[in-house]
Assembly symmetry: none
Homo-oligomer: 188 residues x 4
DNA sequence: GATGAATGAGCATTCATTCAT
DNA sequence: AATGAATGAATGCTCATTCAT
């Protein structure tokens, strides 16, 4: 239910009330329970929807011909764009991470998502090193972990204190670190 | 109350029950309310305690003679150590970030914490660049933001999927990025 | 809810418990709250019901042809009859007078009731004086106030010490006072 | 305790809290319970105090030489004066009437008070009739009951809607009724 | 005498869920 | 497929009272 999705992003799982979901959707509480037997079922629905949405992104057919550097930039650009457009998605993702500590199903789903993300980053980093566009001394697994941690931390920061996060310069800096190049305006 | 602290880290604010806190602490519900008039008061107490604990760290008198590089390493070491010893603290911090979206008081407290952290990192990065131990092309504000995002993302990752986070190698990599030096095993 | 009505007259607002109302009505506490969101709502319902009941009396279409003296007697008769039949109503009215000291809504409702009562008495007293059945030296406003005070005091007395209140003789006496006539048994 | 007295008149028995009484009196709750084992004891104390205060009035040595008419006027004057000076006393009396419906001790005390009052009024009415200052056709018991009901009703009215009670004219009217005389300004 | 701390019994209210229709 | 009515099991909180000191 769209309304559940919206409500969670507004007030978190903590404030999610079946009555509220039903009334916002314009149906009776009993009707809601006709479709989602329990609240847990409803949440499962929300999670699955989120999962598909996020999975879609990572799977999205990147242009085969794009270079590793383009992929890195695309990753940054994409996450920034998506956070601006649908911050709810990321707030719910953040909430789910918490819930995954106590819910195995969610934990599995999130690990699956992380796995995909890992392989995606690993792919273009490896390619980039091989092609010489990224630093040759890159410790690939460590770099993947770093980029993922950084990505999640960016969500955290953007969520709490967006104005204190100079995205452009941050992305540029990371790019320099990974490529090993100096600032593009003053190449060594 | 220690028990509230523990309970929140176990089940989140969502599952915090005054009855449970009281019974775990071995007192009557009414006794709990004798000390904390409302549940909100109890939470406030927990938050303040967390705040002091985290603030203490950043303020802790670092050895004046420590070099910027040592400070960076100390930062990594410290966060890893503290997460291992008292993961609850970080889980609660994570929860609070969520709560801060809907609670101004918490938002302010967390921003204050972030401010301190920012100044701390900014301090040693600036010093490191001046002394030549860090890359001269470092974009300080961007680097601070990156390190903070990375730090928060590490909490997130460690919380959800600790075994997939090769801390040592990640830290080493970041160090190389910041110092601009190659891997220590293959000095230039 | 009838049961709330009964319970208040039995134990006053002070001892009114939603649980008790619900259980007496044979429903679950939650069911009671389904109809009356709060206890205050329930009380409001009771008050409104009482209000209608009392208002109805004063508005009740008195026989147009009834003489002022008949109206006075009817007033006495009616109050005695009603107190015997539904003493709860008057006990609750008494309680409400107390509550009105601290609750503006109730104060307004009771003043409205008093206003109707005042106009009703004023009506037949004026008519009676004009027609010569009542003493010509009657100070109408004072007489109305006296009759109302007397009416309320009768409720008070009947409530606390019914056997010490010789209603018949009291009413007869007042009638003599108002008409200025001697006792019917010994006409002047 | 004075504070209990004040609190009851402010908010009724319903809102009487031992904590509040204690804190207003500037002592600990436990200390209050040292003097009044139970809340019931405290209330008993208040009731006794009220009883003495009201009893004192009726017993107060009226001037032996005062005439029945003076006594009637004194009665009116006194009640008006006392209500103005210490309305709390009458509010509590009103509350107690309600409580007496469920508490035998209070019922007995109030009936004792009523008895004294009855005898007092009966005394001067009888004397007045004998001396010819009051109507000869006065039905003494009925008149006593009427005056008492009127007195209580006056408390009720004054409590709820003081400005709608023209005391002076009301008293004058009753006096005319009892004496059988026309208005003093225009004697028949 | 006095008090801080503690408690049992209760209270209004909430909420996911069920059920007859 | 939909709903109004009903409910059990909490939940945060209150308050008179007790007790060790």
């Amino acid at each position: 239910m769209d309304e559940a999705y919206r409500l969670i992003s507004e007030g978190g799982f903590e404030r999610l009330r079946t009555r509220e979901v039903a009334s916002r959707a314009g149906v009776n509480t009993a009707t809601l329970h006709y479709y989602f037997a329990t609240k847990e079922d409803l949440i499962r629905g929300v999670v699955e929807r989120l999962f598909q949405e996020l999975a879609m992104v990572d799977e999205s057919p990147r242009d085969e011909s794009s270079t590793p550097l383009e992929e890195l930039r695309e990753e940054f650009e994409d996450s920034r764009y998506r956070f601006q457009e649908t911050p709810e998605t990321y707030i719910i993702l953040y909430e789910l991470s918490l819930r995954s500590l106590r819910d195995e199903t969610i934990r599995d789903m999130l690990q699956e998502l992380d796995g995909r993300w890992w392989r995606h980053i690993e792919g273009y980093l490896t390619k980039g090193v091989r092609e010489g566009v990224f630093r040759s001394d890159l410790d690939i697994p460590a770099a993947v972990a770093t980029l993922m941690a950084f990505g999640k931390g960016s969500i955290w920061q953007s969520m709490n204190n967006p104005q204190a996060f100079p995205a452009d310069r941050v992305y540029a800096q990371i790019e320099r670190w990974i490529t090993g190049k100096g600032p593009s305006t003053s190449p060594e």
